[in-house]
């Protein structure tokens, strides 16, 4: 999960994906397959089978966000569920409830609920109250 470098976060759309330029604003739903790079702003819902990258100037605000991985250097504010491997880079502002996994860089601003699946260490397993095990 920590394999996203700053440079890979700057990747462009490539085949089939989309790039929202810094002067562009989308209001509505963005869906489909392919990577989505946001330098501008999206207000609404995002559901892509691919990587979502929100660059420094970019912002995604609105409802649910669903992507394979989500890398944020700009702003992400979601009232609905955020699903995917979320990486919050330094300088970004993120407010959401995330399900999947999260990596927070030092200096990143995050508020919200984290629902991450992971294996409990053996000494905590079978301890009674928190028996949740996950895929990762």
């Amino acid at each position: 999960m920590a394999s996203h470098s700053r440079t890979s976060a700057r990747g462009n759309s490539g085949g089939g994906g989309a790039r929202i330029g810094s002067g562009a604003k989308i209001r509505g739903r963005v869906s489909g397959s392919g990577d989505l790079t946001v330098d501008g702003s999206i207000e609404g819902e995002v559901s892509v089978r691919g990587n979502l990258v929100v660059n420094e100037s970019g912002s995604v605000k609105g409802d649910a966000v669903d992507a394979d991985s989500i890398t944020v250097a700009g702003t992400l504010e979601a009232d609905g569920q955020v699903t995917g491997q979320l990486r919050v880079l330094v300088g970004s502002r993120v407010r959401c409830n995330v399900k999947g996994g999260i990596a927070l860089d030092e200096g990143a601003e995050f508020s919200g609920r984290i629902d991450a699946d992971f294996d409990l260490p053996p000494e905590l397993e079978g301890g009674g109250h928190s028996g949740r095990r996950g895929r990762n």
């Binding site: 790039r19 330029g21 002067g23 562009a24 989308i26 489909g32 392919g34 609404g44």
Partner: protein, 104 residues
């Protein structure tokens, strides 16, 4: 490279507004407004009113097209809707159903 690219795999239901240029290879339903050039590539499906600067269409547009400059319907383009621009070309092989308003 264009500022904003809507790739072939992507669908947007809603409104896109930009003061830059746009390349559409995927699907847009709603409205597309750009201050700079708009290119609707072959295979793209736009069910929306399109407003832009220089506008090139090689894909399918269902909706009205308005350009502050020129509109080029290329071979293979399919446009159902009215086109308003100062200069318009319709290439051989382009399908077009609608009115042309050249503001004369």
């Amino acid at each position: 490279m264009a500022s904003t690219v809507i790739g072939a795999g992507i669908t947007i239901d809603g409104e896109i507004t930009t003061d830059e240029d746009v390349v559409v290879e995927g699907t847009i339903r709603g409205k597309l407004t750009a201050k700079d050039s708009v290119s609707i590539e072959a295979g793209a499906v736009v069910e929306a009113d399109v407003i832009g600067g220089p506008l090139t269409v090689a894909g399918t547009v269902t909706g009205n097209i308005t350009s502050s400059d020129r509109v080029d319907l290329q071979g293979g383009a399919k446009v159902i809707g009215n086109v308003k621009a100062t200069r318009i070309t319709i290439a051989d092989g382009a399908q077009f159903k609608g009115n042309v308003d050249m503001d004369v």
